[in-house]
């Protein structure tokens, strides 16, 4: 009917992971926990992990809330940590874009929170199909 495939798939390496998930709220913590595992294993300080977890959770919540208001869909979250300590997190959906919702359960603060925490934030709507949020975080040298 609506093309539900939505088996969760995860590819994981020591330097990152890729997750493909149904755009459902229960899957948002999975991304955060995968990210935490990656950053803890890399010795990133706890406070920085908490900040990055917040930014990435907001990005995933946007994908789940805004991409598919009238249907079910999927989203992808990928993280890659370079040897130089640059973390790139990409959250992608294939939905209708970040259209405002009058019934939005958010506060409208997700994007400002992401922008405040990430060292770089890019939002793209490739070919009008879905939204790609790409956040870069410097995590090297943040230990003090």
């Amino acid at each position: 009917m609506n093309g539900r495939v939505f088996d969760t798939t995860m590819t994981s390496r020591s330097s990152g992971f890729e997750l493909e998930l149904a755009a459902e709220t229960d899957n948002v913590p999975l991304v955060r926990h995968a990210l935490r595992g990656l950053l803890e294993a890399s010795g990133v300080p706890e406070e920085r992990i908490a900040d990055i977890s917040l930014a990435v959770t907001e990005a995933c919540a946007n994908a789940v809330l805004h991409a598919y208001p009238h249907s079910r869909g999927q989203f992808e979250a990928a993280a890659e940590l370079s040897p130089a300590g640059e973390l790139v997190v990409t959250v992608r959906d294939y939905g209708s874009g970040m259209a405002p919702r009058v019934d939005s359960p958010g506060l409208g603060v997700g994007l400002p929170v992401m922008a405040a925490i990430a060292d770089a934030l890019e939002i793209d709507t490739p070919g009008g199909s879905g939204t790609v949020v790409r956040m870069t975080f410097e995590v090297a040298g943040s230990a003090s």
Partner: protein
């Protein structure tokens, strides 16, 4: 103390007559915000003062923050006593979200559960 209801990471206690304490522990986000909202609505409907204990909360996202702020606003509208307990044991991610959004003041936060209970039952709270 009577534990009224418990689900994962959300416990509702009758700490003393006239006060319902919602203890929020661990991580909460868009996946648990609806359940928290139901618990808070039920507590507000009880007519008792409401305290939200965030001392063991390690993480919240903006959907949870919205639920907390709505609860506070509803408490004000109904003249129901309301406080949040938010202190040093509250997770960094929680305090960071409040700092970034500038909404800490809207939660009527005090540093201990005892302060929160006392503040919520005090006359002229609302």
């Amino acid at each position: 103390m009577v534990i009224l209801q418990a689900v994962s990471g959300i416990v509702v206690e009758r700490a003393e007559p006239g006060v319902e304490v919602i203890i929020v522990t661990g991580e909460h986000d868009i996946s648990t915000a609806p359940e928290l909202e139901r618990r808070l609505e039920a507590a507000l409907d009880s007519g008792h003062a409401v305290v939200i204990d965030l001392l063991g909360t390690t993480f919240i996202d903006s959907t949870v923050l919205r639920v907390l702020i709505c609860a506070r606003e509803q408490a004000s509208e109904r003249s129901v006593g309301f406080r949040c307990a938010l202190g040093e044991t509250t997770g960094h991610g929680v305090r960071r979200l409040l700092e970034l959004t500038g909404m800490a003041g809207r939660l009527q936060a005090v540093p201990t559960r005892a302060d929160a209970i006392a503040g919520a039952v005090a006359p002229g709270h609302a």
